[in-house]
């Protein structure tokens, strides 16, 4: 996973509450076997007209948002399906950070597994960011994970909080499977200790004929 320390980039407004992951990656793209190449698909049904012609009304198709790498979004961003294809698509599209008042739990978690920083800010600050983004073409923000601040070049400075563990993993780009496997002895000890609950931890009775 690529680490996230500090990122400066163009901001695009995704001005809808409760954006679900079905909108980010519609189901017809859930049959691919890889993690790569979903950037073209992001927000597919909003972004394209029939024949995959760009829909000129959709925000990300406007020339001023062409090189977007930060989203400012509304509450409960990423609700619905657990599909990790959603953060894969966001990352592949070129976005490294999201700013919103709240996120759905599974999506929030999935972002951290893919080097995307989801920043949580109060509604009033998000409202202000929407205003600035829409009013100023080429509006850019810097998201600094080390300092835990979001800044622009006009004096805006919002600090945000984030769990220290999540922050460290993102700063260092850590592989959390590797981190857990460090504790393999404890996992084995847990398994041995709990074998006494045969219904859960023992070897299942696979004599049941599976066909």
């Amino acid at each position: 996973m690529q680490p996230f320390t500090r990122h400066t980039g163009l901001v695009a407004p995704i001005d809808r509450v409760n954006v679900d992951t079905d909108q980010m990656v519609p189901k017809q793209f859930l049959k691919l076997l890889t993690r790569e190449g979903y950037g073209r698909i992001l927000f597919y049904d909003w972004r394209y007209l029939p024949g995959e012609q760009p829909n000129p009304d959709f925000v990300l198709n406007k020339p001023r948002y062409k090189d977007t790498s930060i989203f400012v979004a509304r509450a409960n961003f990423g609700c619905g399906s657990s599909r990790e294809h959603a953060p894969w698509a966001i990352l592949d599209f070129g976005v490294r950070a999201i700013l919103a008042p709240s996120y759905a739990d599974i999506f929030y978690n999935n972002c951290f597994k893919n080097g995307i920083l989801p920043v949580t800010l109060p509604d009033t600050e998000i409202d202000e960011l929407f205003k600035r983004t829409e009013a100023n073409e080429g509006y850019r923000l810097t998201v600094d994970l080390e300092q835990q601040v979001v800044t622009d070049d006009r004096g805006l400075r919002y600090s945000f909080s984030i769990n220290t563990f999540r922050r460290d993993c993102l700063l260092k780009g850590l592989d959390d499977i590797g981190l857990s496997l460090v504790h393999e002895a404890e996992i084995t000890a847990y398994e041995k200790k709990h074998l006494r609950v045969p219904s859960l931890h023992g070897t299942l009775d696979l004599k049941y004929h599976l066909e």
């Binding site: 079905d22 049904d45 657990s82 893919n114 769990n163 996992i187 070897t203 009775d205 066909e211």
Partner: protein, 474 residues
């Protein structure tokens, strides 16, 4: 020890390692896998040279992309075929139990888990699917995970997790005639909002919940995620134990009796504190119908499509405007005046035997409206299908003009060829009415199986409480 909730007891039982300020490493008892969200996890595992730690605790099934028509024909969609092949290969290499599309145990992952006794009270259960919350109905801690976490569980049989907050949802009193578990959960989501449960694990309590069958409890827990709660739970009781007894993978004989004693200790202690509590009175509930593009946009069947101006928050007002434009509905329209093109009875929310029976009772001796384009019944598993056929329910549906299909996720997610065409409107027993969910441009109204069956007969939504075939109050 201080009084603990059901969630806290299961959590404590599964902590492998904890450190202040850090997520805990918790043990996973059952890992369910399907073709849609697992190929990248197996590929990642292989690339890192890792192995599946506990293949015997991992169960795989083909459900999302399977055809519900003739499975003996070759898979027409090459992408779906590639998914199936990948799952079969991955399971064979790792020695994982796979219920492929030809297995008599095949079905939707959240239907077959409980049905086979893979899902047990007190267990931690995960799956790369947000509706894993379903399994909490048995008193398990069950939640959906992303593909990276699927890989993590395959490699370690553990997950790193932050402890959730607890949310008690207490449904007091008896539910009235015609009100099902689906109406209860839709009313709850309408009340708390689709992000209302974010960061929480929900526990459903109260007389109306206790009065539900296991199927009904599964319907409620299934849609916990639609209210933002990653997991939903019901404390195990005699209804639960009677359901689990004799299931193929459940403990048998003396092991079962011992297990029941342990399971009885899981219920939340008197005086246990929840971080949040919500109360609903069952007698105030009615059959529900969604009018918008998320499950929280819902009202009673006797109600009307709301006016966006009735929402005080400008963000909500705009969302309602967008939803009504997408759904092609005028504010103030009586819900009963909304016509439907297709009816879908199925999905991990409402495809169990009780759901099929309730719908069959509504359509027996009647016929779907002439103008209806399609009425589908898709049993949640092949076991449900077989049972329904033994009871002659397939004949009732066929005689009434329904199509009787093979088991799978089908038109809930429309990854196979069961789809709505653009601008078509459905009455659907599934769980999500998001834009495009059942096909690009599709318009979904979520309802219970009885409401969907009645809509198929009348071609529009109907207040079913006067139908003699509607079950009485419980």
């Amino acid at each position: 020890m201080a009084p603990r909730t059901l969630y806290e007891k299961i959590w404590d039982e599964h902590v492998v390692r904890e450190e202040p300020g850090q997520p805990s490493l918790i043990y996973i008892d059952r890992h369910l896998v399907h073709e849609g969200t697992s190929p990248q996890a197996f590929a990642g595992l292989k690339a890192a040279g890792r192995r599946v730690r506990r293949p015997e605790l991992t169960f795989a099934v083909m459900d999302h992309s399977v055809s519900t028509k003739n499975r003996l024909l070759p898979v027409a969609d090459p992408d779906a075929a590639a998914q199936f092949e990948a799952l079969a290969r991955n399971c064979q290499e790792a020695q994982i139990n796979l219920f492929d599309m030809h297995s008599r145990n095949q079905g939707i992952v959240h239907v077959i888990g409980p049905e086979l006794g893979i899902t047990l009270p007190g267990a931690t259960i995960v799956c790369g699917d947000s509706h894993t919350s379903t399994h909490g109905a048995l008193g398990a801690l069950a939640f959906g995970i992303g593909t990276s976490e699927v890989e993590h569980v395959l490699a370690t049989q553990c997950l790193t997790q932050f402890k959730s907050k607890t949310l008690q949802i207490d449904v007091q009193g008896k539910r009235p005639r015609g009100v099902t578990a689906k109406d209860m959960i839709l009313a709850i989501i309408g009340k708390i909002g689709i992000g209302g449960g974010n960061g929480h694990v929900a526990e459903y309590t109260g007389e109306a919940v206790r009065g539900l069958s296991m199927e009904g409890r599964m319907t409620m827990c299934n849609m916990s995620i639609e209210g933002g709660a990653r997991a939903g739970m019901v404390a195990p009781d005699d209804t639960t134990f009677a359901y689990v007894e004799g299931k193929p993978f459940a403990p048998q004989a003396r092991d079962f009796q011992e297990a029941v004693e342990f399971w009885k200790s899981l219920a939340s202690d008197p005086g246990a504190r929840y971080e949040r509590a919500v109360v609903l009175k069952a007698e105030e509930l009615a059959p529900m119908v969604t009018w918008g593009t998320n499950p929280g946009m819902v009202t009673q069947v006797t109600g009307r499509v709301p006016h966006p101006s009735s929402f005080s928050d400008p963000v909500d007002r705009k969302a309602a405007e967008n939803a009504l434009a997408y759904m092609a509905l005028e504010p103030g329209t009586p819900i009963e005046d909304i016509p439907v093109d297709r009816v879908f009875i199925g999905s991990c929310t409402n495809s169990r035997i009780e759901d099929i029976r309730a719908a069959a009772k509504m359509v027996a001796g009647r016929h779907v409206a002439k103008s209806l384009k399609q009425a589908l019944v898709v049993p949640g598993s092949r076991a449900v299908k077989t049972k329904a056929e033994e009871e002659g329910l397939d004949k009732i549906f066929r005689d009434a003009g329904f199509e009787w299909r093979d088991a799978g996720c089908s038109m809930c997610i429309a990854m196979n060829d069961d789809v709505l065409l653009p601008s078509e409107r459905s009455a659907s027993t599934s769980n999500r009415n998001f834009e495009g969910r059942q096909g690009k441009g599709s318009r979904t109204h979520l309802v219970s199986p009885t409401m969907a069956a009645a809509a198929a007969i009348e071609e529009h939504f109907v207040g079913i409480r006067n139908w003699s075939s509607v079950d009485g109050a419980e």
